[in-house]
């Protein structure tokens, strides 16, 4: 497993490549789910529900998009959910004490980014395998958040701030605009910048990347920082949407975020995948969970189904790409 004998993937210079078929598969899967749900349930195609799906998918996307970059380097960040919780609680406190949403937003982004930086340091400087380092971080953050909150809930934020999560602009929820912006930024960054291409190279073959002069450690540090900062951003939008912060809000977020990345076709073995794919992945997962809701399936089934989806997504990815093991 540790041998670097993976086939080197041609850098996906644009979306129109071998990845296009992979994306088309996923788009048609999303489309099929939509058709099925609209046949099964009348309220699926209502405007309210569609906007709801988009808003939920965008919340998932913010966490999953940063995670995508980490997975592209053949790493994993299991701490994103706990990071969202801690950042949301810190940001919430700052907003309540200062009354300034701007300071709160900065706090959330900063705390998310610092956690990401610590993850990156553990992976690069201390050379701890990423999944175990971020898993340790998950429990450290969890402990800190529960201790900090002491079972309390922070709620009631300025209306202007809450607009970020629940407001509308020209009939579309504001998180959807943010989604489009970050989708564009993420795609441009990954596909069109040298740093983005270097991230692909690091994931496809770290040894070759190092030999060709790419600063591997600095790029790894970058992706963990981005993942952490995106978790911080997600925490702000959660905060604005829920209008409250509790220590446990992140617990059910990590698995869906990983699922979205994997459904979106990003390979766990690094070097393959797109941010746009992750958006489709987030959309598909949200559609499935939304459909289960509409068909009044007990919500207790959601973790079970998400777990199955994670396994099936990886398995399908490996089967269609024929990874050599």
């Amino acid at each position: 497993m540790t041998d670097m004998t993976k086939p080197v993937v041609a850098p996906p210079g644009s979306l129109v490549s071998g990845d296009l078929m992979q994306l088309l598969y996923r788009l048609s899967a999303a489309f099929l789910i939509c058709i099925m749900l609209s046949l099964l349930n009348d309220s699926f195609l209502s405007l309210g529900n569609i906007l709801n799906v988009l808003r939920q998918a965008s919340l998932l996307f913010f966490i999953a998009s940063g995670l995508t970059l980490v997975v592209l380097t053949a790493g994993l960040d299991l701490s994103v959910g706990a990071n969202v919780a801690l950042s949301a609680c810190l940001a919430g406190t700052v907003i309540q004490h200062t009354g300034s949403p701007l300071l709160g937003i900065l706090t959330g982004l900063l705390s998310g980014g610092i956690v990401g930086l610590l993850n990156g340091v553990m992976v690069t400087a201390l050379r701890i395998p990423s999944f175990i380092a971020t898993y340790g971080m998950l429990w450290v953050l969890n402990g800190l958040t529960y201790w900090y909150m002491g079972g309390e809930t922070i709620h009631g934020f300025p209306p202007a701030f809450r607009q970020i999560g629940s407001g509308y602009l020209f009939g579309l929820p504001i998180p959807v605009y943010l989604l489009l912006i970050f989708l564009a930024i993420g795609t441009a960054f990954a596909q069109r910048t040298i740093w983005g291409q270097e991230i692909y190279a690091v994931g496809a073959n770290p040894v070759a990347a190092r030999l060709s002069g790419i600063p591997v450690s600095r790029r790894l540090l970058l992706v963990y920082c981005v993942s952490g900062t995106m978790a911080g951003l997600a925490s702000i939008i959660f905060l604005a949407r829920l209008n409250s912060a509790e220590a446990d809000i992140g617990e059910s977020l990590t698995l869906p975020a990983i699922a979205a990345v994997l459904i979106g076709g990003t390979s766990l073995f690094g070097g393959v995948g797109t941010v746009f794919g992750t958006f489709i992945g987030a959309l598909i997962l949200t559609l499935v969970l939304n459909g289960m809701n509409l068909l009044s399936v007990n919500t207790n089934w959601q973790p079970f189904i998400t777990g199955v989806i994670v396994i099936v997504a990886v398995w399908l990815d490996m089967a269609t790409r024929r990874h050599e093991l």
């Binding site: 050379r127 395998p129 380092a133 969890n142 800190l144 529960y146 207790n300 199955v308 994670v310």
Partner: protein, 313 residues
Amino acid sequence: MRESVAASPLRRIPGVAVMLALLVGIFGSIAPGFLSPANISNVLLQSTILTMLALPMTLIIMTEGIDLSMGAVVTLTSLMVAIVSLATGSMLLGLAAAIGVGIAFGVLNGWLVARSGIPPFVATLGTLGMAQGLCLIVSDGQSVVGIPRAVREIYSATLARLPVPVVVALIAYAVFHVLLYHTRFGTYIFALGGNRDALRYAGRSPAKWLIGVYTLGGLMAGIAGLFMTARMNAGHPTAGLGLEFDAIAAVAVGGTSFERGDGWLFGTLLGVIAVGVLRNGLNLLALPSSLQVGSVGFLVIVALFLDGLRSRS
């Protein structure tokens, strides 16, 4: 990746033993009542469930794998004990159901890792979600209370003046020791982590043995489920949340490497006690349980950092 296959166990003893001595020394001097016989036997008693999980986790990590689902599976088996023994009045049926469910998840984990080639941490993350979902589904999110006395008493009963959980943990340790160091299965486990190809060239199917290792984890999760229900006198849908992390922590602190496929079973036992001492000591210092969880995470990171240093030197 490395030059010498087996760093001698003697070189590893200092790591975990020093850490344990340090923890005992610190808490002995600042935590009131830490060194009292009652508290020490309390630490050992509370470490028994973790021992039952950390032993198979050691073998799994030695095969360069991991089982993130273990805590959720123990929660599920604990619920099975509670539900089945409540319905039938029989502790043994409850235990059988728990072991059945545990083994089913073990086989599923092993199959996913060995046959489908999905990386272990993602495969078991998926089964973690499945087990967690099943916990909510079978319990409907509620605690299962009113379990038979026989189940309750298994935790406090004694055998040859030792508490039953301690006896079971000791037997489990002995069995795992013999299994790892004195059987072909044990040799294959070393090969699965260190040199999988050698196993293949020797005409042995790595997949079969790998499935066996994860199944052993499921079996132990079933047994641990009984003691968990007995200890809490109830089945609770989030009881074992994060227990797999304590098990991973014990293994990491005990000096088993995550990347080199060498493990040390006695080190895991010391690691379990170190985790138990850390939690108990912080508890006596009246630190909230949330920070205890965080400190275990910190302990793991320190242990892995030290392991990384050792493997480079």
